[in-house]
Structure formats: C-alpha cells, structure tokens
C-alpha cells in the first residue's frame, strides 16, 4: 500500500453493516456522507485537499472490528477513524487510535468508559454517552420527592445507564424505590414488571436497547392504569413502530428529525429526502453527520494538517454546528456536549408510528455528564 497522497485526506468509517445493529450502521454511514457534503459545500475538499472515506463492516464482532481498523490504519493509511455502532467494537479499537496516533471520532457508541476509564487523547466523541442519556432522562421526570422505579436490561448498558440515572435523579431530589434488571433474552418480562408494580412508584424509568423489548407486556400488565407513568428514551423510527403501547409516555429523545430547530437540520432533512427517495433521517443519521462536520471543521482550522497533536489541540474545546445544534468537545474528556430533547409520545394522523413531540430542549449544559476519565 502506498502512503497517503499529500493532497488526499482519508477517513475510515467503521460501522455495523451486518448483524443486529446494522440499521444503526447504515444510518451512520448515510449521515457521514451527507455531513461531508454539507461541511465542504459538496466539494469534498478542505484546504485544497480531497477528502475520501472508506467504510468497513465490523459485523458487530470485536475481532472483526480490530482487523478492519488495522486494515484501515495500515493499508489505507487513513488519517481519521470514525465509529462504531457498538460499544464493544469501539472499545476494542480505541487503543489502535493511540498506537497509530490517529484521531478517532466515536459515533454513536454510548458506553461511558470510552471517554471514561478507557479514554486516550486521540478519542473524541460526537455521540452522546450513557450519562448524558441518564441526565436527560432524569431531567424529564425527576424532581423533589418523586418516587421512581427503574427497569433495565441486566447487562452493562442497562446497569451503567441506571447507575448514571440514579445519580442524576437523586441529585434532583427524586427517590428511587426499586431497581429491576431483566434478562434481556427473556421471553417473559411480566415478573419484572410485577416487581415494579409491587413498589407502587409514580414513574417507571426504563433503559433498554435491542429488539426484544418489553413495551407490549408493560401495556398488558396495565402498568399505566395502575398509576405508574412510564418514561424511557425513544430510539430509531423502526423501534418507534413497536412502541405504540407507550403513547402518552414522557421521556427523552436523542434525535428525531422534527425535534431540532436549526438550519443544519433543515438541510439534512431536505437533502436526505432528496437522496433517499423521500425518507427522513433517523436516530443516528444526525450523529454520522455531526462526526463528519467535526472532522471537516477541525481540518479547516488546521488548514488540512492531519498531524494528530495539532488536531487534538484544535479540537479540544472546539464548537461546531450540527443538526442537533451546536456541540462542543469538552477539553477534559473529549466528549461532545450536546442537546437532548424531553418529549412526549403522541399519535399523529398519517404517520404509522407514534412520534415524539418536543416538551423542551435540554441544552448541552443541562445534559453535561460527569467527567470520568480521571
């Protein structure tokens, strides 16, 4: 393989294009491509250098992710890494960024430890982390004296999410009455739900990702009728289609195309519809776009210099405009501070799924997570 042309900047994008998270991977890739075009006004050039990107499928397997990342770094000589759809894959790739001294923009993997205990200076994250989710979730429902029960998958994603949520909710004065963790592969969630009901809380906060979700069983068990309000994150459009049992629920959203109100988002929605026969951007399309924008903006500032140290210096504290409004890479742990949205799920005519309707935007300071890489 030849070393990279001086006037080309190469970006390697890692994403799950097959496997359980493939929908997320595809969103990221589409968003990334749109982001490049947006940030360079369609020229795909910055400071006179051409930008190309190479996508690789991690198959949502850690060993494949490492193999693909190494290929990108060694054979394609990429200047940046972007990705990936799964926290496991991302964690496995992090040390490579440091070893090869290349910037890696993490998107959309959410595990706190990426910018926490496994942080290295080459890592920047445009995606929100679990703590930001938790803070947003708490902001949506917690206040002095509210009794909250939690339900989550019994795995790291669920446990960490709840831990961060409890910290945030208790800070707001709420009382956590029970924490319930369910086997994510279970056929039957009613016993877990039963446990929640037995505590008679005001709110039930749920951290859940993945296909096998308890929404329907929550309705079957008449949770809301028994006076328990449900709150959770709404995810991509496909899963919204499965959440009709939760209409009326108050929670939060990371991105839904109607929620942000800014020019970048308007461009994204319009351009996305144009390119992908009328479809609207989805959960992580905005993230993919943000990652691309952050890279191009940094390059603009360094005038095409891809030296990592220079880039780190530039990117720390950098603010940039994304479909989710302005984001800022916090200098301490390189986590992008960003807005999340408190919403209520409502039905809308002509839409085959419940949609999140904005209650209020939680700005990037409100959702600022604790610093955990020290």
């Amino acid at each position: 393989a030849s070393s990279s042309d001086d006037d080309t900047i190469k970006i390697g994008v890692l994403a799950s294009l097959t496997g359980p998270l493939e929908a997320y991977g595809k969103q990221t890739i589409q968003g990334f491509e749109l982001g490049l075009d947006y940030a360079t006004d369609g020229t795909r050039e910055v400071a006179g250098k051409k930008i190309v990107f190479i996508q690789e499928d991690t198959e949502t397997k850690t060993d494949v992710a490492v193999k693909k990342a190494t290929k990108l770094l060694e054979e394609d000589n990429v200047d940046f890494l972007v990705g990936s759809s799964s926290s496991g894959d991302t964690l496995a790739v992090l040390p490579l960024a440091e070893e090869y001294k290349k910037i890696m923009v993490v998107e959309p993997a959410a595990a706190d430890s990426i910018t926490g205990e496994h942080f290295n200076p080459y890592i920047f994250r445009t995606g929100r982390n679990s703590s930001q989710d938790a803070v947003a979730g708490a902001a949506a429902i917690a206040s002095e004296g509210v009794r909250i029960a939690t339900l989550a998958q019994d795995n790291t994603y669920g446990r960490d999410g709840i831990a961060a949520f409890i910290e945030a909710a208790e800070a707001l004065g709420a009382e956590i009455v029970t924490e319930v963790y369910a086997n994510p592969d279970s056929t039957d969630f009613t016993p877990n739900i039963q446990q929640v009901i037995s505590e008679d809380p005001e709110y039930l906060f749920i951290v859940w990702s993945g296909s096998n979700a308890p929404w329907k069983q929550l309705k079957d068990m008449k949770v809301e009728e028994q006076g328990v309000k449900i709150s959770t994150a709404v995810q991509d459009i496909a899963s919204l289609k499965t959440m009709d049992a939760l209409v009326g629920m108050e929670g939060y959203s990371i991105y839904y195309y109607t929620l942000p109100d800014n020019e970048v988002n308007d461009w994204l929605v319009e351009e996305h519809k144009k390119r992908f026969n009328g479809e609207v951007p989805d959960l992580f399309t905005a993230g993919g776009m943000s990652a691309a924008i952050s890279i191009v903006e940094a390059l603009k500032k360094t005038e095409g210099n891809v030296d990592a140290d220079k880039l780190i210096e530039t990117m720390e504290g950098m603010e940039f405009d994304t479909p989710k409004g302005t984001m800022k890479f916090r200098a301490d742990d390189h986590q992008a501070l960003q807005s999340l949205y408190a919403i209520v799920l409502e039905n809308q005519d002509g839409v085959d799924h419940p949609i999140p309707v904005l209650i209020r935007e939680l700005d990037m300071f409100e959702t600022e997570p604790p610093i955990r890489n020290k």
């Binding site: 039957d188 877990n192 499965t242």
Partner: protein, 288 residues
C-alpha cells in the same frame, strides 16, 4: 398473594408458549434425532409470514394457516436439500443446518428488512382482565388453550398411529424398516415437514406474546427449545411439556424473587436436572 397468582399464571403460560416452540423439535430432534439448528429460523419465518399475512388480510386464522403452510414448505425444502444427505450424522446435521439458518435468516432480512417489527393481533385477543391486583392477559389465556390442543394433537398422532413407532424404528435401523415395505424416506420427510409447521406455528404465536419480532430472535428461542426437549427426555412429549412448564415457572419466580439468578436460571435448571437424571425428566435409559 396477587403477585404470586400473577407470577404463576404468567409463568405457566410462558411455559406453554415454550412448549409450543419446542413441540416441533420434540418430533425433529426428540424422535427423529435430527440436530436441526435451523429450527429457530422456522419460528422466525412463521412469525414474519404470519404477521405479514395478518396485516394484509386482517384474518388471524388465515395468517395462522399461512404461517404454518410456509413453515411446512420451508421444512420440506430443508429436509430435501439439507437433511437427507446427512441422516444419522449429528455433527454434519448441525453444520449444514447452521448454514441453512444463515440463509433463511438473511432471506428474512432481504424481504422484511433488519428492523424489528411490531406484532399486531386481533382485538379480541388484545388486553387483559383485571380482578383486583390479579391481571390475566387475554392472549396468555389463549396460549394456554392452544398449547393444550397442540399437546393433545401430538399425543393422538403418536399414540394412535404407528408413525411414532416407524420413526423410532427408522432411527434405530433404517434398512430394516425399509425391509418391512415402509418408505422411511417419505415418512421422515413428512414428519420433518410437520415439525417445521409446528415450529412456524410456535413462532407465529410467539409474535404477539412479546409484541415484537426480529430476524435474530430464532437462535435464542431455538436454544430454549433444545433445552426443554433435552431435559424433558428425548422423544417424550409429556416430558417436553413438563420441562417447558418448569422452565416457564422457574423463569417467572426467579425473576421476581432472585433476579440475580435470572440470567442463568435456564442453564442452571439444565445442569441440575441432567446431573440428577442424566436422561432427562421422562427420558428412558438407552435412548440418545
């Protein structure tokens, strides 16, 4: 007390659902001794086809029959193409059907995409009855009834016809069965196809149970089905039924009382029962 009743009813009906999922496998694996890894993809096909038909026709029973028929068709193809060359060789069965599973699941993704879909169901099955704190989910009561009917059907087929005997004899010695003028190839094909149809039915009924279906759900339920067939005792329909109910109830009660165990409860049950009774609950010695 209410909680206990809820747990019991829900656990029981989950057990019955597991039995429905495993019923096809009691034939294919328990009786015919075919290690069919693609079994989970029969569920998935049943679920997707059924749901698709239901959304199209709005007739629950049309969808049900359609799902079963498609399951049988796929079963027939799988048996013809994949299984016939490898009867009697478990390892090759496993791998060939592993390949089959990859193909079948990818086909699902091609036809229906890779996102999870919401499973709809008719209004008369929607919702729950409430008696004070006791909540009886209608659909689960329906599952209890269907499960009982399927059990009866299997029981009648195996007790009142010689099909069961033919299969067991065929597994013991294929050649000698043929010498009795029985076309064992056809019998096996038929039973396999029937088992696949049952699996598709199980998948179809599973869909509204959890409310969501997705291409990857096959594997996890297939493992569950294998577990109950094994701990029930190979080839024993009542064994599989008992094992299913044990698994369902144990799942419900541990999730409530000892949540820390719920990730491992199925495997603990498997280990515990096999160590206690190495051939499964109703398994006979000497059949493996």
């Amino acid at each position: 007390m209410n909680a206990i009743i809820n747990l019991f009813v829900n656990g029981l009906s989950t057990g019955v659902l597991i039995f429905l999922l495993a019923s096809g496998l009691t034939l294919i694996f328990g009786l015919m001794s075919v290690l069919n890894f693609a079994h989970g993809s029969f569920f998935v096909w049943g679920a997707f086809v059924g749901l698709w038909l239901y959304d199209l026709t709005n007739h629950f029973f049309v969808a049900l029959i359609g799902a079963v028929l498609v399951g049988m068709l796929i079963g027939w193809l799988v048996e013809r193409i994949l299984i016939q060359p490898v009867y009697g060789n478990h390892i090759r069965q496993l791998l060939v059907t592993l390949g089959g599973m990859l193909v079948l699941i990818e086909c699902i993704r091609i036809f229906w995409g890779s996102n999870p879909l919401r499973a709809n169901m008719p209004d008369w099955l929607e919702g729950s009855f409430q008696f004070g704190g006791v909540i009886l989910i209608k659909y689960r009561l329906f599952i209890l009834v269907v499960g009982f009917l399927i059990y009866l059907l299997l029981w009648i087929i195996l007790k009142k016809t010689t099909i069961g005997i033919m299969i067991r004899a065929g597994v013991d010695n294929r050649e000698a069965v043929q010498a009795l003028g029985i076309n064992i190839k056809t019998v096996f094909s038929f039973v396999f196809l029937f088992g696949a149809g049952m699996a598709a039915l199980g998948g179809f009924l599973l869909a509204p149970y959890s409310g969501i279906i997705f291409a990857d759900m096959g594997m996890q339920y297939a493992i569950l089905a294998f577990i109950v067939v094994i701990i029930g005792g190979l080839g024993s329909i009542p064994g599989a039924a008992i094992a299913s109910i044990i698994v369902g109830l144990a799942g419900a009660f541990t999730a409530f009382y000892i949540p820390d165990l719920s990730l491992s409860i199925n495997m603990l049950l498997l280990i515990f029962i096999l160590l206690l009774k190495p051939t499964g609950i109703l398994g006979e010695k000497g059949r493996a």
